[in-house]
């Protein structure tokens, strides 16, 4: 009896573990659903973002930089938002904001470069993979060729999760500029080595994107005038053009707050909240809010005990935000276990970040997680049915 017969006999439909997609089926993803990743570059301090305000250890570990209890925007009896996230309250009230606490992975690495590589490639801590997890997803279940690109990276030169030899990932700063310059691309040619092969591939990707991108980028909705606001505006314009992309990655810089954290993080979180709120309005305007999932991510959280420069050092488990028209708002994961810090003074994790990826792959796109993530992961129910 081959495997599939056995499964149907056992009532396979009820299994929650995911099994590798059968070899001959060309998997098709539901890429009309869009993923927008916002990278909080440098490692956002989750503890001052989603604050365990009722835990006395929070104040005692951070005598200088803890957010005073009366300033916290309480979400429930244990957790609340940093006051700068005020613009996200409408999303919370509409039950479209999911907050996941304790996101991390085993044997966490405290190096920016190594840890973001782990997040981008969804590898284990001791494993080195070359391709981004989204690149692998699109290899497993290809994005329609009519789409302008598989994914778009706005305002950065780092492909991150979209890094892959065969991935059609476009770096874009400004759709208008892109369309004007795109005529320069499209050299056909013979690739004689890796370097040339890379250039020719980029040329082809540009040509294809330009052919499919169209020229209608207009949006009425306004965005805040800072780097993140501009990047999210570009993202929204790409979506408005109706060209089709499966994923967009945007980076917000400056979260590596080793010193003077309070002022810096306040500004960054305000920019983030304003940006996300504006993005929601824009996506609603173009009728894409219900088919968009926004997810924040970054290399790590930061150490619970403040350092002596009014900042924090590299840490581990972190809090992240998800939002979208079909997100089931609420708190997920576990409140920070400030009484169970490890030998480096860092938090244990409660939710493996790959659980979030797996949920996205399976529930958002209908792509087999096992084929992309090499392992078994547990769904996090942040999407409504």
């Amino acid at each position: 009896m081959n495997r599939r017969d056995f499964l149907s006999a056992a009532g396979a439909a009820t299994l929650t573990a995911w099994l590798p997609a059968s070899a001959h089926a060309a998997a098709a993803g539901r890429y009309e659903n869009l993923l927008i990743l916002i990278e909080l570059k440098g490692g956002n301090d989750g503890l001052n973002t989603i604050i365990p305000y009722a835990d006395p250890l929070y104040q005692s570990l951070r005598p200088r930089i803890a957010i005073p209890r009366e300033q916290v925007l309480q979400l429930d009896a244990a957790s609340g938002l940093h006051p700068a996230l005020q613009p996200l309250l409408p999303l919370w009230d509409a039950r479209e904001l999911a907050v996941v606490q304790g996101v991390g992975y085993p044997a966490a690495n405290l190096s920016h470069f190594r840890s973001i590589e782990i997040w981008d490639t969804a590898s284990r801590s001791d494993q080195y993979l070359n391709e981004g997890w989204l690149a692998r997803a699109f290899a497993e279940a290809p994005v329609p060729s009519a789409f302008a690109a598989d994914g778009v990276v706005v305002g950065s030169n780092e492909m991150g999760p979209l890094a892959g030899v065969a991935t059609r990932a476009l770096a874009l700063n400004n759709p208008g500029e892109f369309m004007r310059q795109a005529r320069l691309a499209g050299n056909e040619g013979v690739a004689r080595n890796g370097a040339l092969s890379h250039i020719l591939k980029v040329e082809r990707d540009v040509k294809q994107a330009a052919a499919n991108l169209g020229n209608n980028f207009s949006l009425r909705s306004e965005f805040p005038n800072h780097a993140l606001g501009n990047a999210l505006k570009t993202a929204a314009q790409v979506v408005a053009s109706k060209a089709g992309v499966a994923a967009i990655k945007v980076s917000h810089n400056g979260y590596d707050t080793h010193s003077g954290q309070q002022g810096t993080q306040q500004r960054l979180l305000r920019e983030l909240a304003e940006g996300m709120a504006a993005l929601r309005t824009a996506l609603q305007e173009i009728g894409r809010w219900d088919s968009t999932l926004i997810m924040t991510y970054c290399e790590f959280g930061r150490r619970p005990r403040e350092n002596q420069s009014g900042g924090t050092d590299h840490g581990t488990a972190n809090a992240h935000l998800l939002s979208g028209g079909r997100v089931r708002g609420g708190l997920y994961g576990a409140v920070p276990a400030l009484d169970r810090l490890d030998g480096n003074g860092n938090l244990p994790f409660a939710v493996d970040f790959r659980d979030l990826y797996a949920t996205t792959l399976d529930r958002w796109w209908g792509v087999s997680p096992a084929a992309v993530l090499n392992g078994r992961y547990n769904p996090v129910e942040f999407l409504r049915a």
Partner: protein, 463 residues
């Protein structure tokens, strides 16, 4: 009879020892990689030398002081403490002045790259700037960044151990990696982590405990705010015993650096990086081990390592020709030098380099510019082509002024430059490109239109 013994001699000598002129192709390859490309006459003159003579000649030109005078203010350190009691308006004025100075600093370096008789010197200073990273964005003092540039310049082809010790205490580095915030009982691990992970051993070759202990050893390193100079504060130094990389002792910062230099991984990390800069994207493990050992055995003499790389057979191997992608600086400075452009203000080129992803004095993070294929994505490739189009659009370049951008004031005398080629297309290709054009389209163009075709060919992005 005489010829026979010569052939026998040649047969038993290792290939590298054969004193034969390197020839045109090898000379072009060597100059492409070390000198921001080169024109016909330079290639022809190096072609007459042997590999060893050519490399020694290039190395012999290094180490001289820059020919471009620095901005007038480089001797006047402005302490940020000055602005602490300043008014809002004074502070704004100061910021603006600092911004202008940052631009002048970048313009100074780019100018030097354009006119230096030793482009290899500038390549090596840039290499070390990308290794021992500090950024004007965080350091905020153009004077300190200039001084760091002088320091890198001093040791660029000297001894790596001396360079490491000096740059670790360089004030710009102290600011960049928060060394002054690292005090006894109140550690800041930033410098300790990066010196191990990025400057010497490499990722995974040390433990978190090593980082913590090393941070203790670096306590007391600080900066005199008034003068912008390194100062050691004894009372902030943790003089206790530390256990680092299997050794135990009351190490201070310098002792930790010596411990790092004693590890074989350090030489290998540096040689691998030099390999990826000069030879190919994939270092050969056996060659790296060999050259790293030579590097270490010669007290980390950088010149020795570079000489070994540039004279090795693998450097000249066919599969390694045109195997590397030009960085923004390679592309911009290389094009301007190779075609002997006359330039006015260099600020447009400083800005262009930033737009292409390489902002001088401001690498994006402490790991530096990743380089290689990371230089080329849809946005940067289109910008490269647009820049090249502008450069070669007409005999005399006066392109339309783009609002907010400095006008490009350049002149390319295409007729004069083309004259030695006598319209031989094969020769033109050999100078302009590192390999045959990628495009299979048969061209009938000549002169400037043909140059335009060649620089817009994907192969022009290779070195």
């Amino acid at each position: 009879m005489g010829k026979h013994w010569l052939f026998l001699l040649l047969a038993v000598l290792p290939l590298g020892a054969v004193a034969a002129p390197m020839g045109f192709d090898e000379a072009r390859h060597l100059l492409n990689r070390t000198s921001f490309a080169a024109g016909l006459s330079d290639i022809e003159s190096y072609a007459r030398l042997t590999r060893v003579q050519a490399v020694d000649q290039l190395l012999g030109l290094t180490g001289a002081a820059p020919v471009t005078p620095p901005p007038s203010w480089v001797g006047e350190y402005e302490s940020p403490a000055k602005m602490r009691d300043a008014s809002e308006e004074e502070r704004k004025l100061f910021q603006r002045q600092q911004f202008v100075k940052g631009g002048e600093l970048r313009a100074w370096w780019l100018t030097e790259m354009l006119v230096t008789p030793s482009p290899l010197t500038e390549k090596m200073v840039l290499f070390w700037h990308n290794h021992f990273v500090s950024s004007l964005q965080k350091v905020r003092s153009p004077v300190l960044m200039y001084r760091q540039n002088q320091l890198l310049r001093k040791y660029a082809l000297g001894y790596f151990g001396d360079l490491l010790h000096a740059v670790a205490k360089d004030p710009a580095m102290v600011v960049y990696l928060d060394s002054a915030s690292n005090r006894k009982g109140r550690p800041n691990e930033n410098f300790a982590r990066e010196v191990m992970e990025l400057f010497t051993l490499g990722e995974g070759r040390y433990s978190e405990q090593d980082v913590k202990e090393a941070a203790r050893a670096f306590t007391g390193w600080s900066i005199d705010q008034e003068r912008g100079e390194f100062v050691f504060r004894q009372q902030a130094h943790d003089a206790g015993v530390k256990n680092i990389l299997g050794s135990s002792g009351n190490f201070d910062g310098d002792a930790v650096l010596d411990l790092l230099l004693a590890q074989p991984q350090t030489a290998e990390l540096v040689v691998r990086k030099l390999w990826r800069e000069f030879v190919s994207p994939q270092p050969d493990a056996a060659e790296v081990t060999r050259i790293a050992r030579m590097f270490r055995d010669n007290r980390y003499n950088i010149r020795v390592a570079l000489r070994a790389l540039l004279t090795a057979d693998v450097f000249y191997a066919p599969e390694n020709r045109a195997a590397l992608l030009k960085s923004p600086v390679d592309l911009i400075v290389g094009s301007l030098r190779q075609f002997r452009f006359e330039t006015g203000e260099v600020t447009p080129f400083v800005n262009a380099s930033r737009q292409l992803g390489q902002d001088l004095f401001a690498p994006p993070n402490v790991k530096g510019w990743p380089g290689g294929e990371a230089w080329i994505n849809s946005a940067t490739l289109l910008r490269r082509k647009q820049l090249l189009e502008r450069l070669f659009r007409a005999q005399e370049m006066r392109p339309a002024v783009t609002p907010g951008r400095a006008e490009m004031d350049i002149y390319f005398d295409s007729e004069r430059w083309l004259q030695p080629f006598a319209d031989v297309d094969a020769r033109l290709i050999k100078v302009v490109l590192a390999t045959d054009p990628a495009s299979s389209v048969v061209s009938t163009a000549h002169g400037l239109p043909r140059i335009r075709e060649l620089v817009l060919d994907p192969a022009y992005q290779l070195k």
